[in-house]
Symmetry: C2
Subunit: 362 residues, 2 copies
Amino acid sequence: MKEPRYLILADHDFGVMTSKTANSVIRYHPTRVVAVLDRLLAGQTAQQVLGFGGDIPVVASVGEGLALGANAILIGIAPQGGRLPDEWRDWLRQALEAGCDIVSGLHTFLADDPLLAETAREHHCTITDARKPPTDIPVATGLARDVAALVVLTVGTDCNVGKMTAQLQLVQQLNARGLRTRFVATGQTGIMIEGWGIAVDAVVADFIAGAAEQLVLRGSKGADVVLVEGQGSINHPGYSGVTLGLLHGACPDAMILCHQPTREYLGDYREASWMKIPPLAEYVRLYETAGSAVHPTRVIGIALNTYDLDAAAARAACDAAARETGLPATDPVRFDPGPLVDAIVKRRDERRETRDEKSCAP
Amino acid sequence: MKEPRYLILADHDFGVMTSKTANSVIRYHPTRVVAVLDRLLAGQTAQQVLGFGGDIPVVASVGEGLALGANAILIGIAPQGGRLPDEWRDWLRQALEAGCDIVSGLHTFLADDPLLAETAREHHCTITDARKPPTDIPVATGLARDVAALVVLTVGTDCNVGKMTAQLQLVQQLNARGLRTRFVATGQTGIMIEGWGIAVDAVVADFIAGAAEQLVLRGSKGADVVLVEGQGSINHPGYSGVTLGLLHGACPDAMILCHQPTREYLGDYREASWMKIPPLAEYVRLYETAGSAVHPTRVIGIALNTYDLDAAAARAACDAAARETGLPATDPVRFDPGPLVDAIVKRRDERRETRDEKSCAP
């Protein structure tokens, strides 16, 4: 595969919460991004829209992206309504005809679109649907509990609170402390960033835990610490099944609880809101109870997403979370992720001692 | 659709635990079953093999079943290995050529088999894959919590402990008490018995709760009580995601905990066994904690599956379960289901009082 130089399609969506894929790819792989297509923001830069991403320009057409050297199209979140609008299909055809590959995180698989598939074949381009799961996932049988690496799972108070980003922010410091650390992607954005993974919410229900188990088995090879991207929330009326299947399949030794302090209701930016988010301590109890039903686990820290607070309010939110739970709390994007790194190192030392004791037992 | 007269395919499998579909269809619709195909037991009757089912004969070939008047083939659980053996495919083709429809609960969809699909078309027969989910299931948003009917979900200590059968045993007595009661099927066997439903373990993970929600919304129309078939177990390493998604999508007001007293380990008849089944009181805590995170719910009774105990031991097991949990406990197949029916009626009265109070509040 050629080194990608992406034009990211985020029309009408860039810089808002639903453009998670665009934002994250720009944050972690800015050199792979040539431009972002959003007709509403054309003329600005990623830095101006997101506060990071430097000079990456926002353009108004596929043609401009191609002129800037794009050799691949990246589509993150679906446009409103979920279906691919005809206009977008035209853009994709234009890009394929110019020799671009397509990487998509949409629920609808683009490789199954006859017109796009045919155009891709004609022009020797690939269409990669990041959410398309492998067909040979087994039912989980608890194998992940035996891996030598420490397995850390992010869990959340809701969807889209920063469970992937929290893990990605920890990798560097853990490696710097001499722990070989691997991030394991369980959603389309993580897969696009890391280059492998399984979108666990896209597999058939019987195989959620099996997918998580396979990911941990692969990710733990040669690693001291495995950071598994969490999904959904244990009390989310729509997605909790994915959350628990992932928790039981991954068998984490430790969990980091992620939360956005300004959010009051589950899913409040998108769906009908009726469920008030309970206190963090209640989530700690829920996740530890549910997780330990299969493999002993506990919450070791809190990762807050304070992007919509000023610095003083963000600090205060971290202090309040730490007081409420008795656990280290930080915003690992905005502040030093060190407290969470410390908690992981400490948990790993504890687990090694326990395992050593066990192996020395008469 | 013509009234089915089934030949049930259960070769090498009839009368053992994995022939759940065959057993249940014979238990609840004996008049629809013409014969069972099992070459190892040919010559016996269902009564001799199962202890119920009367004179339904076990035969050794499709031809014998056709001669007895079969106009449809029913396949429950997959033969060992899960794949459809060539021999079975030949049987199915023979049946289709004789004008039989096929109803299948296999994971592999028979309607997708080109040879069988073509043969069915030629002979104007239908192939129904009971596990094939609809394609338009929405993500759940908690709508099931508002239905007027009392929603009762069976939950279990493991897979295959009697969660469907417990519900089916309660329908008649509840109707006899004047409560319009509907069974809601969430797995292939229940769907074959009831004629509608969704196999919630076969939907894409994001839509488990959505499927449960749709089923409860449909099942509750004109009903006083909805009995939802449970799936899996909250601490099953492979299937817990399905269990929690179903629990949060169905929003039950009450749960009945199902258990087989002789079982010591989760999944011990099939998969690698390593997880000891914890005490019933621990399951009550797990299900009430997890369920109430979305909608207030509690366990109101215990349904035991004592088929492999003698009568005295079965009685003793019910007494022990009642003592341990402080809840009514019975084997609703072997003994009177009355204690569970009483518990449902009581829970319904309580809920009506609470709702009345709420609606009278200033």
